[in-house]
């Protein structure tokens, strides 16, 4: 391989924990040979805040703000998973309006999250302009959320049995307005970034995740779909009535280089934003009447039982394992983070590549350290 020409002196290099391209505080111990990476050892835990210990010491609804703070880019989706798991424990059914609002917010949040992911990815690779376009659009989604519940990042929106606020008057129209002007931006991203020669060169042949690796490491979400596996929990194990919506599951096709490359993962996210727009439109069209606080229980006290529940967040399959001993506080809350599982695959896919490829790979798997370290 031509990479071998860049071999040289061996040394150990610490990348991070404060490196901007590591998307948070992640330290990578690189064993380099000239420009070639011989081994990568990820060191995580810099953002460990004992989420699971905290959760064992507060009541069920009190855990929700902590969930928001795990994956702070996609808080709506995080708290949704937890609320659904507790509702499953209690055997609680929510009304249609709550379900539709949850889908609406989860998809808006997915767009915001993918925009951040794509924008920062482009910047890591060295293209600054897409970042500005993405953040301009993301800002509009955050404005909608701020109008909805007062917070821009950490919403505490999905409660057990309902949501915190019904949508304000005029929210629907504003969301439609956002959608109308956002739709062309996706096409713009294609022109600006997707088929850019330099971007393709940097990503299309790098960081290949094979199907077998993906399954063994339990890689989920856009990263799994980038490897060509059409697997989306919204389709396979629908929650919140996703089975009644029409949408497609975009997968990587390997159009530019081998299947499962960084570019495939990136492009799945672009296509997913289109699907999310469709879902938001359908949710707005049907929005049934109802009281969003109708099913909120006065006391959340599930009977002695346990459940493992998973949902599809922008980063993949987020699982909550809840154990209840019949009390008012959870006996055990375990979080299976999608970023945690995909990061464990990093050494396998980064070995033998160039140092600069590490940046391309980390950006493409879209990790949030807050969720990995919990």
């Amino acid at each position: 391989m031509q990479v071998e020409a860049y071999a040289g002196e061996e040394m150990v290099l610490n990348m991070g924990p404060q490196h901007p391209s590591t998307h948070g505080v992640l330290r990578l111990e690189l064993e380099t040979d000239g420009e070639i990476v011989r081994n990568v050892i990820p060191h995580i835990g810099y953002l460990h805040r004992c989420f699971e210990k905290h959760a064992e010491n507060i009541d069920y609804p009190g855990v929700i703000p902590f969930c928001d703070r795990m994956d702070y880019i996609a808080s709506m989706n995080n708290s949704l998973g937890y609320a659904l798991a507790v509702e499953k424990l209690m055997g609680l059914e929510v009304n249609e309006r709550v379900k539709t609002l949850r889908v609406l917010m989860a998809e808006l949040n997915r767009i915001a999250s993918h925009l951040l992911s794509i924008g920062t990815y482009a910047m890591d690779i060295g293209s600054f302009t897409p970042f500005l376009h993405c953040f301009r659009e993301r800002e509009k989604v955050l404005d909608l959320f701020e109008w909805l519940c007062g917070a821009r990042l950490l919403y505490n929106y999905n409660w057990v049995g309902g949501v915190s606020h019904d949508i304000p008057e005029g929210f629907e129209a504003k969301t439609r307005e956002f959608m109308t002007q956002f739709e062309p931006v996706i096409a713009e991203m294609d022109k600006l970034l997707s088929y850019n020669k330099i971007f393709l060169e940097r990503t299309a042949d790098v960081g290949i995740i094979s199907e077998e690796q993906a399954l063994s490491h339990n890689v989920t979400g856009p990263n799994l779909r980038g490897s060509g596996i059409a697997w989306d929990l919204r389709k396979e194990e629908p929650y919140c009535g996703y089975e009644t919506y029409e949408f497609e599951v975009p997968v990587g096709l390997g159009e530019h280089g081998p299947l499962g490359s960084c570019w495939d993962r990136y492009y799945v996210r672009i296509r997913e934003m289109e699907q999310s727009l469709g879902l938001i439109r359908q949710a707005l069209d049907r929005l049934p009447e109802g009281d969003v606080h109708e099913h909120i229980p006065r006391r959340v006290r599930p009977a002695k039982s346990e459940v493992y529940d998973r949902t599809e967040t922008p980063r993949g399959e987020l699982g909550y394992y809840l154990v209840s001993d019949g009390g008012l506080i959870p006996f055990r809350v375990k979080v299976k983070s999608p970023c945690f599982t995909v990061l464990s695959l990093l050494p396998a896919i980064a070995k033998g590549g160039m140092v600069a490829d590490i940046i391309a790979i980390i950006g493409s798997i879209d990790i949030v350290m807050g969720e990995i370290d919990r």
């Binding site: 399954l215 339990n218 039982s305 346990e306 394992y321 001993d325 006996f331 375990k334 464990s344 919990r374």
Partner: protein, 186 residues
């Protein structure tokens, strides 16, 4: 797709002595297996074409000390899923709280490596045969296992205070004058 009862039956035929108990009356049916046999059973579950549990969704530890309903023990819980057949299963291993150890399943699912490191880090459960059993979230020289129910938070870590400051409410309850009452201020 197989029902939980069918999967359980297959397991009982294959490993008659290793199944301690099982339950199908709960939300998600589970099987409790002997600690020593867990690697063997997992390998069977993955490789048997009719079961084909190709995904380890989650691997968690649970400490049942202080539970009102359960006897005191440690538990390792495996949530398995088969993407090929779309069926699920929960496998549990019960361990004593003193010197808990069981074989690793790293060779079956690669992701178990990190999950087991986390369980070791948080509960001190030893996974025999693990290739790299180090702490993962806490620093290497951290003392004791934080998610055990009888964990006591250290006062200091490397000379730095580790305990959180008392909350205002706590301090007020202890009778400290915080000077925040507008009626007392004057």
């Amino acid at each position: 797709m197989k029902q939980a009862s069918e999967i359980l039956q297959t397991l009982q035929e294959q490993f008659p002595d290793q199944i301690a108990k099982s339950s199908q009356e709960c939300l998600q049916p589970f099987v409790v297996v002997a600690p020593g046999a867990v690697a063997e059973i997992c390998a069977f579950l993955k490789n048997d074409p009719a079961l084909a549990f190709d995904t380890l969704m989650c691997l968690s530890g649970v400490d049942y000390k202080g539970s009102k309903t359960e006897p005191e023990r440690l538990e390792v819980v495996y949530h398995l899923f088969s993407m090929r057949h779309r069926h699920k299963m929960v496998l549990k291993v019960e361990l004593p709280r003193e010197d808990p150890a069981l074989p690793t399943v790293e060779a079956v699912w690669a992701i178990a490596n990190w999950h087991e490191r986390e369980v070791y880090d948080m509960y001190g459960i030893h996974f025999d045969g693990h290739s790299d059993l180090r702490r993962i979230l806490c620093p290497d020289d951290w003392v004791d296992y934080p998610l055990r129910k009888d964990y006591v938070q250290p006062e200091t870590y490397r000379g730095m205070p580790a305990a959180a400051d008392k909350q205002f409410a706590e301090r007020a309850q202890e009778g400290e004058d915080l000077g925040t009452d507008p009626y007392q201020a004057g």
